[in-house]
């Protein structure tokens, strides 16, 4: 079999996604401290992302594997002008699996073509970050007890937010209802609405959401980046509309959970943190289990 990589969430079938979630649950319940004994995973971070790198490295360490790699391309051969292809070919000789993050879009797909070991995309520019989607789904399943018929609110930057785009694609087979809440300038692009229409998925668009919170099972908050607005006045005026505060949660369902891919700036007020509905820190913890699942799955290791 050709060596299998995870570059985009659409590389996995729905059955494979369910398998990953099942494996992640297994790792959470029963740690497997030796399943990666003797294995080496390379984490190649061509741009810094401490959180994501630590999550992957924690996943490998918890399974007894060893990690090599770099977190700063300035001290690697990349700064000497080596091509990505050469770097990947060489590193393929040193490890059993490559985790990579790169500022250029499509870089991971290309790496998976030249690598002789599986590649896991840990973010390629604004393009894809599939393990984030898997940990989001794992968090939804874990907190709601199911993936089917979930009412998901997506709030913030729906235009550029890759986590939003990947999550809605991956959730679409499970009959969700989406509520998209954003400034008109940051609305979900038409291609994703067309996609949802083609799958018969229900969705609604809103510019405000405080009155609608009681309907939500999941509120998925995202960061609105100031750079997205050419008019900073407009950014200042609108940014507070998309901030979640504890006082807004009074009528929410008791089982409702708030997710965020992190880092957050001010879109979730600090006073939400003490609410039992705040789930974003546990969500990050789930990322380790999801990444353990992906790594063992791609390496074909049996639990």
């Amino acid at each position: 079999m050709e060596n299998k990589s995870l570059i985009s969430i659409t590389d996995f079938t729905t059955d494979e996604i369910l398998r990953i979630l099942e494996l992640a649950e297994g790792f959470e319940k029963t740690p497997e401290p030796h399943i990666l004994d003797g294995k080496v995973v390379a984490t190649l971070f061509f741009e810094p992302s401490t959180r994501t790198r630590l999550s992957f490295e924690s996943a490998v360490n918890r399974m007894g594997g060893r990690v090599i790699g770099f977190s700063d391309p300035n001290i690697s051969s990349v700064s000497k002008g080596e091509t990505l292809k050469d770097t990947i070919r060489i590193v393929s000789n040193y490890c059993d699996l490559i985790v990579m993050r790169h500022p250029l879009e499509g870089s991971s797909r290309y790496a998976s073509e030249v690598a002789t070991v599986p590649v896991v995309n840990a973010g390629d520019g604004a393009n894809q970050h599939p393990t984030q989607t898997l940990l989001d789904m794992y968090s939804i399943k874990k907190t709601q007890g199911r993936l089917d018929n979930i009412d998901i609110f997506m709030v913030g930057d729906l235009k550029y937010g890759r986590t939003v785009h990947s999550l809605l694609q991956a959730m679409s087979p499970f009959s969700p209802t989406f509520h998209f809440v954003s400034h008109p300038k940051l609305r979900l692009p038409d291609e994703y609405k067309t996609f949802l229409d083609s799958k018969g998925v229900k969705y609604y668009e809103h510019e405000q959401f405080s009155d609608l919170i009681p309907e939500a099972d999941i509120i998925y908050m995202t960061r609105v980046q100031r750079e997205r607005f050419s008019d900073l006045m407009e950014y200042e005026k609108t940014k507070d509309v998309y901030v979640l505060r504890n006082s807004m949660l009074e009528k929410a369902k008791p089982t409702m959970k708030i997710l965020h891919p992190l880092p957050r700036i001010n879109e979730i007020n600090q006073d939400v943190d003490q609410s039992p509905k705040a789930y974003y820190f546990e969500q990050a913890r789930n990322g380790v289990f999801a990444r353990q699942a992906v790594i063992t799955y791609l390496l074909g290791l049996k639990r």
Binding site: L84, K85, H102, L104, E105, G106, R109, Y110, D124
Partner: protein, 155 residues
């Protein structure tokens, strides 16, 4: 006496490319490198056409195009026809065909795409245009971004 039409360019062997949108004629000439070849080339433009209003036509003597070149034509002029001429006879007449995917030929318009910084071959899924404009666009296999017809740049 009956006035005869002047047939300047009946070719013995070669290729006639017909039904090129007039505005894209010079693009096609450049893409095929016809501005740099040694064999006789004749072209006409702004000729009346039922399909386009105005069309262009190119006749290239002693040259037969490879598939890769034909793909290039299809991206710019998807309605073009190729006539292969041997010994003054039309040996074969066929429309250019839009391939489902293309390798090389074009650049991805996304400046942050890996294909624009790594010495590698581009790859695209070809998205055919609507029935009116026939404008083709290209979806990059690597970054997923769509390069629309107006931004297609030939390498």
């Amino acid at each position: 006496m009956e006035k005869k039409e002047l047939k300047v360019n009946a070719i013995k062997d070669g290729t006639v490319i017909d039904h090129i949108p007039a505005k894209d004629l010079f693009k096609v000439i450049r893409i095929l490198g016809l501005d740099r070849i040694e064999t006789p080339v004749t072209f006409g433009t702004n000729l009346d056409s039922k399909k386009f209003g105005k069309k262009g036509i190119i006749k290239v003597a002693d040259r037969f195009f490879k598939d890769n070149d034909i793909n290039k034509i299809a991206l710019i002029a998807p309605m073009a026809n190729l006539n292969i001429i041997r010994n003054y006879e039309v040996e074969e007449k066929r429309p250019v065909e839009l391939p489902a995917t293309i390798k090389g030929i074009c650049k991805c318009m996304n400046p942050k795409c890996i294909t624009n910084s790594e010495p590698m071959t581009t790859k695209f899924d070809v998205i055919s245009g609507d029935a009116v404009s026939h404008n083709v666009s290209l979806k990059c296999f690597y970054c997923g971004k769509v390069t629309d017809h107006d931004h297609i740049e030939i390498i």
